[in-house]
Every structure is written in structure tokens, then in C-alpha cells.
């Protein structure tokens, strides 16, 4: 009995091995799908990391490229190009990139230089205009910080092996329809209440830009006004803000980072990465016990200081960080302000977007409570496309095109910063690159494709398709009418803002990147426990915004690499 059982097992195993061997020999698993290779055309294979922006924009880019190059020959005996792409979540290393059949890669959330040895030099593309219709070269479409990041010195020359792709940022999205209906705009004259409410003709406050008659009128200009608005929304029986419990640290952490950037400005923020002796203008003075000091009037005492790598820890004292931490504390410690599942680990970003769209509606709401604001990125509508469609099936008024949402300019920590412009930080390391070692014809076609993707026309098309900008300078005015009200807000906001890229060409920063990169830099020891982000430190560790700031400073100073 045992013998026969054993034989059966061995037989089964051997049969499996034989099957695998046959499969390996016959190349099983390498069948093509409906999109067969056209032998008369040069074929380009693209890999794109599967994330929030989807791949419709890439389909359109491929179609446009195929059309534009239909009569161009890159390889002998072939005319035109066939472009295919694969959206996947695979993680690559340099050897895998080299080994793969993909020619072009759109990566996200990583640094391009880990692949640099296996990438094609794109310098000729970068230094030329992507299209005759463009007024700027590709290089000119980039910010100085991007050029610094993407440029690699070879001898005396700067070469480029990758180019930026998506823009990535978190912010506050507000339900314009709800704001209009309930009058959730701050009133210029507060004597009849903080918001305009039912008095739709009441004059709105001038908003964060400090100017009357601009689109941000009535939106909160300061943190204080923001929380006044939240109180009003709560009192009107709506939920002021929502974020996904599952990713609360990520969404709120990025929002906080933007609040810091918006307060400090590009030059002051760069100190956090460059440590090059620039004077930090507003460092909070901490006393001998590491506590924030205040003068006799109760104002926080600040000082100026040159910041080098030897005293880089002082940059943690920037007052914008203190204000932003206090903002986060106020937001997350008052449950009047946020949604029920804001701290539930199963509650994902798509659940949150769904509730943001549905709550308060006649057909989908669980009660009469609407959600006024959402903390998310510009891609949220793309991720919610299916929910819009399902809601539209019940009533066309719920269609994406029939609902109005806005991108709220960030409120300022202090009144003196109102009207001083916006700064945001791009956290997303998203880039496009071409694999090295391709045959001459394919290489040429691949580089043409990357160049084509940088043309103003295709950059605009990306924005029209996704509703979000790409990380280049380009003018959207000719296509603004194709955008939703939300996308218009995002584009206007980005166009009128300065950007801080969280990277430095300082060797010091790169040598200590494990502790200085944006998603761990705010670590602190709170009540004996190590927290990696402000949200957990306050919500779970029991810190206040101020005490977290102090603990963060204490922790930051203790790194042994300051020298």
C-alpha cells in the first residue's frame, strides 16, 4: 500500500517536472495576445508602473505617435511604428531592465540613478525642441531643481538618462457644489457669521491670494480660518474633512509637507536638502530643555543661522514645521473635523473617495451628512471614474462632468503670508527612460517616442486625459475648456505656484538619505517610543503639535552624521 502510494507521488512529481521541462522548451507562456506584432513596423515595448493615473493617457500617446510616424522608417525594410505597453507592479533592478523585452520604462516612486548604467543617453532629446511647434527645448521646460536631479556629469559635460513624468502632490479638494449650496465661503464681513451661508450675495473674504474677485475668494486664507470653516461645516451637520484611514499617515504627512513648503518657500526649503550655508531665516529658539521659547508677548522667538552639514539639525527648527504640526494636531484631535473611518486601517483611499462622492446625496447617502473636503491628490477623479459612472447610471446629475470640485489653495499659517504665493512639494519620483543597448533603429524610435511625449501637444493631452499636470512647463490655456472645474483649479494652482523637489545634489544629503528622505525625516521619540510620522506621534503617542516639534528636534539632533 505504502509502496504504491509512494510510487504515485514520485510519478506525479516526475510528470510535473516533465511538463515543466516541455513547457520551458516549447516557450510556453510567451504566446502573444490579440495585439500581434506587425513585422512591417518597428515595434516599441513600454513598461509603465501601474498606479493612480491609469494608462488611458498612454494609449492616446501611443496612438498619436503611431499616427505621426506612420511613414517614418527606423529600421531597414520597415515603415511606421507599433507601440505596445504593459501596466504592471513589477519592481526591477538594473539587470532586470537590461534583460527585459521592454524598450521604454515609465517608473514611479524611485530614483532613476539606480538604473543609470543600463540606460540610453537622452541628452540630444533634452537639448532640442520636442516639436517644431514648441517654443522651448525639453531642458527649458524643466525646473532648475529637475535639471540638477536629472543631469549626470560625464567629464565636463552634463548628460541626461531620464526625464520627468507625472506630477505628484497631495492637497485639499473641496466639493464646490456643496460649498455653493450651503454657502461654505468665508464672509468678508464677519458680523453676520463667519460664512456667507444662505446669503449668497454676501461678499466673500479675499482668500489665500489676498485679492478680491479671484477664484479663491471665500476660501480660508489662514489656518485659523480653515478651522473656523470646519466648525461652521460641522455645525451645519456636515463632515468637514475626510481622509482614508488606511493611508492616513501618507495623505496627512504629504499635506503637512506641503504646508511646510508653502510657509517656508523654495529657498528656505532647499536648506533641508542642500546644507550649503544658506541662512535659515526663522529657526525657533529652543531653551535648554528643548522647549519652544516665547517672548513676553507670547510670540515664538526665532533666530537666523547659516546651515551646513555640521549643524544641519538646526533646520528642524524651521517655524513652518512647528505651525504645520500644530495644524495637523488640531485637525486630527477633534473628531468633529473628520470622517468616521479616518483611523480605520481597512478604509482605503478608494472607499474614502466613494464616500466623498456619495455622502449627502439623495440616492446614495446614508444620511443627510455631506463631506465637504477630501485630502488626496490630483489623480483622485481618475481613480473614482468607475464610481462616477455607477452614480451616473442612477441619475445623470451625478456624472463627473456635472459635478464641481475644486483644488483648494493651502491656507497660510500666519496672516503675513497671505498673498505671498503658493509653494508645493512634488513627492513623486516619476520618470521615463530608455533601455541601453537597443538596436540602432529601435533606439532611434524609442528616443523619438520619449521626445514626442514631451511635446506641448502631448503634455496638454496628458492633462486633458488625466485632469492632472505633467512635471514640465507648458501652457494649457488653449485646452482649458476641455477640463473639468477641478482640473482647471489644479492647473491654475500649479501654474501659479513654485515647486520644491525633494532632492539634492549634495553628497552629504545622499550619503544620509536613509534618514533624511521625506517619509522618515519627521521621526521623533514621543513618551519613550519611536514614531516615524507626526500623525501617529500625535494621535497614538499623545504628543501635541508643539511637543512633537520639540521631540522631533531632539531626535534629529542626535544623528551621528552631523559633522
Amino acid at each position: 500500500m505504502k509502496k504504491s502510494l509512494f510510487k504515485r507521488i514520485v510519478g506525479f512529481g516526475l510528470a510535473c517536472i516533465a511538463a515543466i521541462s516541455m513547457a520551458a522548451c516549447s516557450g510556453f507562456g510567451n504566446e502573444d495576445d490579440s495585439e500581434k506584432d506587425d513585422p512591417t513596423k518597428t515595434t516599441l515595448n513600454i513598461f509603465t508602473y501601474k498606479a493612480g493615473y491609469g494608462d488611458e493617457w498612454l494609449n492616446r500617446l501611443e496612438d498619436a505617435f503611431e499616427k505621426a510616424y506612420a511613414n517614418v522608417s527606423f529600421e531597414e525594410g520597415k515603415t511606421g511604428v507599433q507601440v505596445k505597453h504593459t501596466s504592471d507592479m513589477l519592481q526591477f533592478n538594473a539587470a532586470q531592465v537590461q534583460k527585459s523585452e521592454y524598450d521604454i520604462f515609465f517608473f514611479e516612486n524611485e530614483h532613476y540613478y539606480k538604473y543609470i548604467d543600463v540606460l540610453e543617453d537622452l541628452s540630444d532629446i533634452v537639448n532640442s525642441k520636442a516639436s517644431a511647434d514648441d517654443s522651448l527645448t525639453v531642458l527649458e521646460k524643466l525646473d532648475a531643481q529637475q535639471i540638477d536631479y536629472y543631469g549626470a556629469k560625464v567629464g565636463n559635460e552634463t548628460h541626461y538618462y531620464a526625464l520627468p513624468s507625472y506630477f505628484g502632490n497631495y492637497g485639499i479638494i473641496y466639493n464646490k457644489d456643496l460649498f455653493e449650496k450651503e454657502g461654505y465661503y468665508l464672509a468678508a464681513d464677519k458680523s453676520n457669521g463667519a460664512i456667507i451661508g444662505n446669503d449668497k450675495n454676501a461678499k466673500k473674504s479675499s482668500g489665500p491670494d489676498g485679492k478680491e474677485g479671484t477664484p479663491d475668494d471665500g476660501l480660508p486664507a489662514t489656518y485659523e480660518e480653515f478651522f473656523t470653516l470646519c466648525d461652521e461645516i460641522f455645525n451645519a451637520n456636515d463632515t468637514p474633512v475626510c481622509w482614508p484611514g488606511k493611508y492616513r499617515q501618507h495623505h496627512l504627512g504629504n499635506l503637512m509637507d506641503n504646508l511646510v513648503s508653502d510657509y517656508e518657500g523654495v529657498e528656505q526649503m532647499r536648506i533641508n536638502y542642500d546644507f550649503d550655508g544658506t541662512i535659515a531665516e526663522d529657526l525657533v529658539v529652543l531653551d535648554a530643555n528643548g522647549k519652544v521659547t516665547k517672548d513676553s508677548k507670547g510670540n515664538i522667538v526665532t533666530e537666523k543661522k547659516e546651515i551646513y552639514s555640521s549643524n544641519g539639525y538646526d533646520v528642524a527648527r524651521q517655524i513652518g514645521k512647528l505651525y504645520a504640526m500644530q495644524f495637523i494636531e488640531k485637525l486630527i484631535t477633534n473628531d468633529n473635523y473628520y470622517n468616521r473611518d479616518a483611523f480605520t486601517d481597512s478604509f482605503s483611499h478608494t472607499d474614502n473617495q466613494e464616500l466623498f462622492l456619495m455622502e449627502g446625496t439623495e440616492d446614495f447617502g446614508t444620511d443627510n451628512t455631506s463631506i465637504a473636503m477630501l485630502i488626496d491628490g490630483p489623480w483622485w477623479q481618475e481613480e473614482s471614474a468607475g464610481v462616477f459612472t455607477e452614480m451616473e447610471k442612477v441619475d445623470p446629475k451625478y456624472a463627473r462632468t456635472n459635478r464641481n470640485f475644486g483644488w483648494m489653495p493651502l491656507p497660510k499659517a500666519t496672516a503675513d503670508k497671505v498673498g505671498k504665493g503658493n509653494v508645493y512639494s512634488d513627492y513623486l519620483n516619476a520618470f521615463v527612460c530608455v533601455k541601453g543597448g537597443l538596436s540602432e533603429g529601435v533606439k532611434k524610435a524609442a528616443k523619438e517616442f520619449v521626445k514626442f511625449s514631451c511635446t506641448d501637444a502631448m503634455l496638454r493631452d496628458f492633462t486633458v486625459t488625466t485632469g492632472a499636470p505633467k512635471a514640465y512647463k507648458y501652457d494649457m490655456s488653449s485646452d482649458m475648456n476641455k477640463l473639468s472645474s477641478f482640473s482647471k483649479d489644479v492647473i491654475n494652482y500649479v501654474a501659479n505656484s513654485k515647486i520644491i523637489y525633494k532632492y539634492s545634489s549634495s553628497n552629504f544629503y545622499n550619503a544620509n538619505i536613509a534618514n533624511l528622505q521625506y517619509d522618515v525625516v519627521y521621526s521623533a521619540r514621543v513618551n519613550g517610543s519611536l514614531y516615524r510620522n507626526v500623525v501617529d506621534g500625535i494621535k497614538e503617542g499623545g504628543a501635541t503639535g508643539t511637543s512633537y516639534f520639540e521631540s522631533f528636534n531632539d531626535y534629529f539632533k542626535k544623528y551621528s552624521f552631523w559633522k
Partner: protein, 309 residues
């Protein structure tokens, strides 16, 4: 060689057979363990930095990767806090998980009511992919458990995994919950090998089930138990008690173990090799502690463990 042959092998043919059947697995080991991991060993002594101008990595030799874990106050804090949680988790597994596993196995061995069903159910979590089971467990504790407790008028202040006061207990509950599959299976089958005559003789002598368990069954199962105890030592340093499955890359100071510290830092590096050397050094240091500890535990258990006879 001759001496070896005469002691261990009946004939030269036996020796050649021994060599033949080991040759390929050992070759595989040399290539895919030693060959591959030698880099990891070397990595512990490398200093890798990015030249920000050329965007190329620059390599040099250093001991700082070891020293920094103790010399840098913050690194040391991480090390000690995660080590404490690792030890706590190991102790809980040892004090609660191991006895429960043995008792469950005894229950099954005695074929008490529902024994086969329970054995089936205890093994069930092992066959469900962890990605699936964790997800169901998280949903269940987030949404269903609070509602169920409401029925008994127990109000939770937040979801079990989100609240600091309940999170560690919930994570450990899950870890214990899924741990019984293989251990109970091994224990109960080992118990099944106990000679029925011994058990019958004990029953005729009127020994209580507790006495039977501690005096007969446990000693007979000890060799199996000791294997789990010995190999479990490594778990102190490597077990991440499902931190990643529950909390992704979010650091929870009350549940982050040494294993998770390594995982967290590796993932945060996003393939940037300049961040690996300190982790490789930590891995080596953990091995330096774990290896003698494992052999010590094995020696100790062999010495104090009851004889099956």
C-alpha cells in the same frame, strides 16, 4: 579518508553513493546560498555613497555599518526598542502558543469530541494565503468585531488594529491564531506514535488526563517540541509578526520587531543600494548572536529534556 570510510560506510560503494546523492544538492547550496550571499556578507563592510554629480555609486570599505548601530543614539534606540518587542513576542509565543499547541494536539491525539474537525480547522489558516487571511482578519476586526461587541454593550474607542491600547494584542492574537497548523499537526502525529500499551497501562493505573499529558505524552513529544524551540530562536531576530501585512510600510512603535526593522529599511531604500550596508551589518550581528544561542538551546534541551524511554 580510510578511517572515515571504515567508521561510517560499509563499503567504498556506500561512500560513493553518499557522495553522489549529496553532490547536486550541495552544488545547488554552494551556488544559490554561498555564492549569492557572499555579496551580502561583503556588503556589511562596504560604504556606498552616491556621487551626486555623476549619479554613480562610489564604494569604499568601512566598519561604520556595525559601529553606527551602537554609536548613533537613534539607531541604537531603534535596535533596542525593536529587540524588546521581538523578545516579548517570542516569549508570548513560547508561553501561550507552545502550550496551547501541545494541548490542542493532545486533544486531537485523544480523539476527544470533534478532534478530526478541530485538526482540520487548526490547519485551515495555513492553507489560506496570508495576503487573503490578513485582509479578511483586518476587515473583520475593523468592522465586524466592534458591531458584535456592541451587542454586549461593549463600546470600543476605535478599531482594534488602529488603537494603540489594543493593537499589539490583536497582532499577537493573529500570529498565534495562524500558528497552530503545522505545529499541532506535527505534535499530534508524534503523539500518535506513542505505544498504545503505555497509555492503556497508565489508564488502568487510573492516572488523570493531566498526569497522562505531563508524564507520558509530553516526554514522548519532546523531540518534536525541541526542534520548534531550537529553530524558534532564529525567529526572535527575523520574525516581523506580520507588521507589513497589517500596516504596510507604516511604523508602529508598539509592534515593530527587529525583523520588521530590517524589512522596513530595505523597503524604504527602494532599491537604492547605498542604504543596504547597515542592514547587512545588522544581519551579521544578529547571526553572531543567534547561532551560538541556537546551539546553546539545542544543547540545553538535549541535556534537560526528558527521555522518550
Amino acid at each position: 579518508m580510510k578511517n572515515l570510510k571504515s567508521k561510517s560506510f560499509k563499503s567504498a560503494k556506500s561512500m560513493w553513493f553518499f557522495i553522489a546523492i549529496l553532490a547536486i544538492p550541495l552544488l545547488q547550496f554552494c551556488i544559490f546560498y554561498i555564492g549569492v550571499n557572499v555579496n551580502s556578507f561583503i556588503l556589511a563592510f562596504r560604504n556606498i555613497t552616491l556621487d551626486a554629480e555623476t549619479k554613480k555609486y562610489v564604494f569604499s570599505w568601512t566598519f561604520d555599518n556595525f559601529i553606527n548601530w551602537f554609536g548613533d543614539e537613534n539607531e541604537f534606540l531603534q535596535l533596542t526598542q525593536t529587540l524588546l518587542i521581538s523578545l516579548k513576542s517570542y516569549a508570548i509565543s513560547l508561553i501561550i502558543g507552545v502550550p496551547l499547541g501541545l494541548f490542542f494536539a493532545y486533544y486531537i491525539f485523544k480523539k476527544l469530541p470533534g478532534a478530526m474537525f478541530f485538526r482540520f480547522m487548526l490547519f485551515m489558516p495555513s492553507i489560506i494565503a496570508s495576503i487573503v487571511l490578513v485582509s479578511i482578519f483586518r476587515y473583520f476586526t475593523d468592522y465586524v468585531v466592534p458591531e458584535a461587541l456592541n451587542v454586549f454593550h461593549i463600546e470600543l474607542s476605535g478599531a482594534l488594529l488602529s488603537e494603540k491600547s489594543t493593537r499589539y494584542a490583536t497582532v499577537m492574537f493573529y500570529n498565534l491564531f495562524v500558528s497552530f497548523g503545522t505545529t499541532v499537526l506535527l505534535y499530534s502525529n508524534k503523539m500518535a506514535n506513542i505505544s498504545p500499551e503505555i497509555i492503556e497501562a497508565a489508564q488502568l493505573d487510573g492516572v488523570s488526563p493531566a498526569r497522562e499529558f505531563f508524564s507520558i505524552v509530553l516526554p514522548q513529544t519532546f523531540s518534536t517540541l525541541s526542534i520548534f524551540l531550537v529553530t524558534g530562536i532564529a525567529g526572535i531576530f527575523t520574525n516581523e509578526i506580520n507588521n507589513f501585512s497589517f500596516f504596510n510600510y507604516y511604523w508602529k512603535p508598539d509592534t515593530a520587531t527587529l525583523g520588521f526593522l530590517m524589512y522596513f529599511r530595505t523597503q524604504k531604500a527602494k532599491g537604492d543600494i547605498s542604504q543596504y550596508p547597515p542592514l547587512a551589518a545588522l544581519g551579521l550581528m544578529m547571526s553572531a548572536v543567534a547561532i551560538p544561542l541556537t546551539f546553546l538551546a539545542r544543547w540545553f534541551l538535549n541535556k534537560v529534556g526528558p527521555s522518550e524511554d
